[in-house]
């Protein structure tokens, strides 16, 4: 499959080029890209599970929160170095995802969305109330922090990894199975796909990465409270970015996250008083005119174009 491989290597090359960027010196663009990579990572995790299976998770912020608190509490209590706590945070999120996904992934459509939404809200309440562990609403201060460029590289690495996994899934049996679930779960089960296991695997993988990203971001901020890291807006942003870019495509979340962060950054500086209105209008326009997202709709058009030609 030469075409597919070319795509992969181009992606790898782009990632390597971005990895070299900090050597050109510190600038605001490094900061901006750090945040963009963080969101690409999150949106790609959401897309991996929800874009491919069509299961809408409205509680992904549960895993940024778990990640942030697991890493934070371990650092405060035991003084373990930050970098060792990150995989532990991923594992924490993964274990919870396993426990939650096992029953809830048998739910379909709106029921799954409601269950996951409730999960994130419930965990936020737990973090608020369990003051002995989390310090509740007063918030928790993280004692360690990495260098600026380390966050840049780590977010780039994690985002690239999740996108690479998505690419692999897209071209692998696993991906066909997920797409089959999206199209018709009953039919998928009847042709011999173990739909529950495959959904669970994907869900746990996605939660594992969200947990690590959440933990890193918690340390980058240096201080957070439950409603910062379990914020439903985190989930909403993942959904919007995936929708904008194109659900169920490899590059969708990359384009969606970059696009949204860039217009936010740019318009926020130029039109202080009504930039949110403009952003809202842009999102509505994209969804009306490009219903499959920027990437999804472009692919569709290209296909149509090439098919028409003799």
């Amino acid at each position: 499959m030469p075409v597919k491989r070319t795509g992969f290597f181009i992606g790898l090359l782009v990632a390597v080029l971005f990895a070299l960027l900090p050597f050109a010196g510190e600038s605001y663009y490094i900061q901006l890209l750090t945040v963009i990579f963080y969101w690409i990572g999150l949106a790609a995790c959401w897309n991996l599970m929800c874009g491919y299976t069509g299961y809408i998770d409205f509680g992904s912020a549960a895993y940024t929160g778990i990640g942030a608190y697991v890493a934070g509490i371990i650092m405060v209590r035991s003084g373990l170095p930050l970098l060792t706590t990150i995989p532990l945070a991923g594992l924490g999120a993964g274990v919870i995802a396993l426990a939650v996904g096992w029953p809830t992934l048998r739910l379909r459509g709106a029921y799954f969305a409601i269950a996951t939404f409730a999960l994130a809200e419930a965990l936020m309440q737990v973090a608020e109330e369990w003051t002995g562990l989390t310090e509740g609403g007063i918030g928790i201060t993280i004692p360690q922090r990495l260098e600026e460029f380390d966050y840049y590289w780590l977010y780039l690495f994690l985002a690239a990894l999740v996108v690479a996994i998505t690419w692999w899934v897209e071209h692998h049996k696993h991906g066909y199975a997920l797409k089959a679930i999206h199209e018709d779960e009953h039919a998928a089960a009847q042709v011999g796909i173990n739909t529950h296991t495959i959904k669970l695997k994907t869900y746990v993988t996605s939660a594992f990465f969200i947990g690590m990203l959440g933990a890193l971001e918690g340390s980058r901020l240096g201080y957070f409270k439950p409603d910062d890291v379990f914020d439903v807006h985190i989930t909403i942003k993942m959904v919007i970015m995936s929708l904008l870019g194109g659900m169920g495509t490899v590059l969708g979340p990359v384009i969606g996250a970059t696009f949204l962060q860039l217009i936010e950054d740019y318009l926020g500086a130029q039109f202080l008083n009504f930039y949110l209105v403009i952003i809202g209008a842009i999102i509505v326009c994209v969804i009306i005119f490009l219903p499959r997202g920027i990437v999804g709709s472009t692919i569709e058009r290209l296909r149509l174009k090439f098919r028409r030609q003799p």
Binding site: E26, S27, Y28, Q31, L32, V35, Q125, E128, G136, G137, I138, G139, T141, E148, E217, R220, L221, G222, Y223, F224, K225, D227, D228, H233, D265, Y266, L267, G268, A269, Q270, F271, L272, N273, Y275, L276, I278, I282, C285, F289, L290, R301
Partner: protein
Amino acid sequence: MKLKKASIVVMALALALTLGTAAPSLAAKDFTFGCAVPLTGLFGKAGNLVKDAYTLWMETVNAKGGIAGKYKVRIIFYDDRSNPQTSAKLVEKLITKDKVDFLLGSYGSSQVMAASAAAERHKFPYISGGAASNKLYERGFKYYFGTLGKATEEVRGNVDVFNAMKPKPKTVAIVGSNIPFTALACVGYKKYAEKYGFKIVHYELFPIKLKDYNTMLLKAKSKNPDILLVGSHLGVALRVMKAMKEIDFNPKAVAFSYGPTVPAFVEALKSDANYVFAASEWTPALPYKGPVFGTAKQFHDRYIKRFGRAPDYVEAASAGGCVVQQVAIEQLGLKPGKVGKAERVKLMEKLHALDLNTFYGPIHFDKDGANREHPPLAVQVQNGKLVTVYPAKWAEKAPMYPMPAWKNR
């Protein structure tokens, strides 16, 4: 057909983007200040107050020719949408992209925590007049300063005023929302209530997003406290007042950590706002005076003239932060276009060393960046107006106490 539509949209967008790019070029004679505040989201209302305070300072200084009488002030404002991640990013942007000379602080402890950490890394002094969480001062930062008192101390006036009452009330109930500022206010209430020998009959922190205040307050009502102390910001204070009336909860007095001093409080509640107590750090009745704005009363009058409303103490504290930074810049003789890392280190040292009287009261930062404690104050809404009722030496009127029952009002 569809493609055409899409390309029109794209063109319109491109046009909209290019329209905005013609940013005004900076004259080298100006000082540029950068400020990321919440203008939308949970703290949008309060953040806009801070923006007003900074705007008034800028206009006042520029009307006098500028800093040191000759360098005009320009402020770049960004909206952090009440989000700490955005706040930190925007401070980075102000420093590394917009290359501002100095920063002005934000509102809300979470935003300020994240933003001041970014400022500290770049060695930019960061003075906030809108954050009071004690945790801000426990990080060993050198470049962070706060003009407000620490959250636990800020509410002391609310307890002191009842300690001075004769006969002294006996029992208190403490409730508050669970965000840092209000939760710490409750910690402060508890500390001073215990110190003065009040009996705490009820203590509860509730989620900031709580909708049903009636049930929450029924628990406090059932304990029949003399005084209800609330850790609040404006939204919480309004909901507590509405719920108290609905469930007919009649303690002898109710006091809020923040809310009643914002003009919107009396506007929304009308006569129901009467008898309410609030802690304060500053009122126009205080005998404070200093450079730029003159006396506390003159600051107050200038505010009314410019914005058609009275300033509350957070706005005074924010403008106070501007004044102290301005004085430090003037004393160091800094010039626009020549402010680098070394100058800002000097500015930080100067801010630690200054002991300044201002319209906001004395400003003298301790080693941790906290302002030296202001004397505890309490204000009360009487006939729709805020008056200072404690301490007695500055009181405009005697406190109206006890509050009549709702059915008799």
